[in-house]
């Protein structure tokens, strides 16, 4: 099963490599990993999407907690949470498909962030399902390149 972990870490050099190294050394998989500073500049928040059964998830959580630089690990998947990802899609734009690309982008509340004679670059955010649907619809029109941030996530409500 897929799990989204929120990992609060010390904002120091080498921490990302400790976390990534832990996953590779113990054979855990990482689907995506996203990291940036928090309001407190001495801390960073990592959002890690991983897979595993109950026993593996227990190990992943415990092993992360064991790292000295890790302060808190929360498995968001056990509760209600919201996750978002940002995607940039560069389309092969021609006279004939330009309007269609914009229409689809509009439906998904995308935004054109760059345009040239041959390309259109769209920015969009959303959860996994929405972005998958958008890519699916844009594919036949000619995707040149995509870049995505990986997920960031947060618990819902006051928690």
């Amino acid at each position: 099963m897929k799990h989204t972990l929120s990992v609060l870490v010390e904002n120091e050099f080498g921490v990302l490599s400790r976390v990534a190294g832990l996953f590779s050394a113990r054979g855990f998989n990482i689907e995506s990993l996203c990291v940036a500073e928090t309001l407190d500049p001495t801390l960073s928040l990592m959002t890690i999407v991983t897979r595993g059964d109950e026993m593996i998830m227990e190990q992943i959580t415990k092993q992360l907690n064991k790292l000295i630089n890790v302060i808190k690990v929360t498995d968001l998947s056990a509760r209600k949470f919201v996750d978002r990802e940002l995607i940039l899609i560069k389309m092969k734009a021609t006279k004939t498909n330009r309007a269609e690309i914009l229409r689809i982008s509009d439906i998904f509340r995308g935004k054109v962030v760059d345009v040239s004679h041959k390309t259109l670059t769209i920015e969009a955010t959303g959860d996994e399902g929405k972005l998958a649907a958008m890519i699916e619809l844009l594919k036949p029109l000619g995707i040149k390149e995509i870049a995505r941030t990986g997920k960031i996530a947060m618990l819902r409500g006051a928690q």
């Binding site: 415990k62 092993q63 790292l67």
Partner: protein, 564 residues
């Protein structure tokens, strides 16, 4: 007062109560060595950096203190890796200081540069690259705290040359606050009560103890626990010494080369009480068939050890000693239930005695000296009071099986990593920590050659360690596997006629050398060697094809023991 990084290091070590450093100098740490020279700090010069780490490890295991090493950058640092991995697997508290090129040169492929923090990330409990001399005292304080607290382990501190030279105001921090590190020492009382509920119901309980009991100095509490409840106990390789081996409730060691009674008991039990052990594959055999009908209580300070290999019913995270003491309090309070245990488990203890009688640890002494006989003789001659270090392989298993360990911190062996070449430097470190005790390295003719250079260290400091080589002219354990599983194709395991003359070698280093070839010589020559005031090496020519038994083939269930 302003001090240089090198001065801060020495001052901080004094504050931490460090008595001795095991090390080897080099370009990047010259200023620290100059400070050692000026301050007359005790330093043991090893002959290879791996030896420094194993010596600090032997010092730490035998004394319970933190072992400290100092080596130079680049190759000096990379030579510590095996020692660090050895200590990490067996939870030994070490602080290893490595020199590093100046911060401005880091990443430039400078002379003797190695990314040692990157290299050792997965074989240390934690590591640091000190970038500013202002952080040095705090980092040293944290390093010692992390190494010795919780589940202990090695910590590496990388010291760039400019940090050693720079000066700053020095004050050793009194307090420590690491946001992400708060080990749990006290077991949860609710879990402790639930564990006892299970103990009071069990008909076939067995206690399985590991190195954690020794590390947390819990041997006495364990003795109380076992003798109060009357429940049998088996030990892992790392747990030997935690409980007197000859006690009627002791089953001896379990696992791949464990005793018949220990492996049968754990397999047939209905309750396993694991204390400071981690269900290593050499202990469990085939995981699916490990104690199939048993509930499992697991006491360990490291949450990651719990339910890693085997699903646990009642986890208790905490220090072994503290948890055992809490258990004992409850046991006393529930006296009536405690008294009923004896009657309930009587048939179980009888069954265990039958197993014990059936296949005791044994060997047949014929014309050629049997290695087990040598180990037994060593046990007799030292009255089981020596500190025994081992190398890895058959020598290690025979030492575990036939030297009768009764006290904690007397058996030093690389259990987790299985590092050949560990024994001699570890014995040297143990002798430094215990100048008045007999320290013996039980070695093989293969392993001893992996760090034989440390004999020079023993001679230099007149450390009277004794090396007893069980010389079977083979890499014996590998040979045994080839005999059993590879149709006796002895691929690259025969050392016959290509081994050095160990007596001459010992003498060349300035140590005493002895050779034993006949049974009648075993006792007198061992005696003579043990009486030597300085280091001595005894080359005992033993039966070539003796195997270590019982043996559970890798991946088989514990009940599938090969007995002869």
């Amino acid at each position: 007062m302003k001090l240089t990084g090198a001065e801060i290091l020495i001052e901080s070590l004094k504050k931490e109560g460090v008595e001795v450093i095991f090390g080897y100098p080099g370009g990047a740490v010259l200023n620290i060595y100059d400070e050692i020279y000026k301050s007359d700090f005790r330093h043991i010069l090893v002959r290879h950096e791996q030896g420094a780490v194993h010596a600090a490890d032997g010092y730490a295991r035998s004394s319970g203190k933190v072992g400290v090493c100092l080596v130079t950058s680049g190759p000096g640092a990379t030579n510590t890796v095996t020692g660090l991995a050895t200590a990490y697997m067996d939870s030994v508290p070490l602080v290893v200081f490595t020199g590093q090129v100046p911060t401005l040169l880091i990443g430039n492929d400078a002379f003797q540069e190695a990314d040692i923090v990157g290299i050792t990330r997965s074989c240390t409990k934690h590591n640091y690259l000190v970038k500013d001399v202002k952080d040095l005292a705090r980092i040293i304080k944290e390093a010692f705290y992390i190494a010795a607290s919780g589940r202990p382990g090695p910590v590496l501190v990388d010291l760039p040359k400019n940090v050693i030279l720079d000066s700053t105001e020095y004050a050793y921090p009194e307090e420590i606050d690491i946001r992400g590190y708060h080990p749990t020492y006290t077991g949860h009382i609710y879990q402790i009560k639930r564990a006892l509920d299970l103990i009071y119901k069990a008909k076939r309980p067995v206690t399985y103890v590991g190195g954690g009991v020794i590390i947390s100095d819990a041997a006495e509490a364990l003795y109380q626990f076992i003798t109060t409840l009357g429940i049998p106990v088996t030990m892992t390789l790392m747990g030997l010494g935690a409980f007197p081996i000859r006690h009627p409730l002791s089953l001896g060691m379990l696992g791949m080369h464990g005793t018949f009674q220990a492996n049968m008991a754990i397999s047939e039990s209905d309750l396993v009480i694991a204390i400071g052990a981690r269900f290593d594959d050499r202990v469990t055999g085939k995981v699916d068939e490990f104690a199939p009908n048993a509930k499992i209580i697991h006491i360990d300070i490291d949450p990651t050890s719990i339910s890693k290999n085997i699903k646990v019913d009642i986890p208790i995270v905490g220090d072994c000693k503290k948890v055992l003491q809490s258990l004992l309090k409850e046991i006393v309070a529930r006296e009536e239930e405690t008294e009923k245990i004896e009657g309930r488990i009587k048939p179980w203890l009888e069954q265990i005695e039958k197993w014990r009688g059936k296949h005791a640890l044994a060997y047949e002494q014929e014309d050629v000296i049997k290695p087990q006989y040598v180990v037994e003789k060593l046990g007799e001659l030292t009255k089981g009071e020596a500190i025994i270090a081992t190398e890895v392989g058959q020598n290690q298993m025979w030492a575990a099986q036939f030297y009768e360990f009764n006290k904690p911190r007397t058996f030093l062996t690389s259990g987790g990593l299985g590092t050949m070449g560990y024994g001699l430097p570890a014995a040297i470190g143990a002798q430094v920590a215990n100048p008045d005790k007999t320290v013996i390295d039980i070695a093989g003719d293969g392993s001893i050659q992996m760090n034989i250079q440390e004999l020079a260290t023993a001679v230099q400091y007149n450390l009277p360690v004794k090396v007893v080589i069980l010389n079977n002219a083979y890499l014996g354990m590998v040979r045994q596997w080839q005999e059993l599983f590879f149709d006796r194709r002895y691929s690259y395991t025969c050392m016959e006629k290509i081994a050095p003359d160990f007596v001459k070698l010992a003498e060349a280093y300035g140590a005493a050398g002895f050779r034993i070839e006949k049974i009648k010589d075993v006792e007198p020559i061992l005696k003579e060697a043990l009486a030597v005031k300085g280091p001595a090496m005894v080359d005992v020519i033993v039966e070539k094809f003796e195997g270590v038994y019982p043996m559970v083939p890798a991946g088989a269930s514990l009940k599938q023991m090969l007995l002869v």
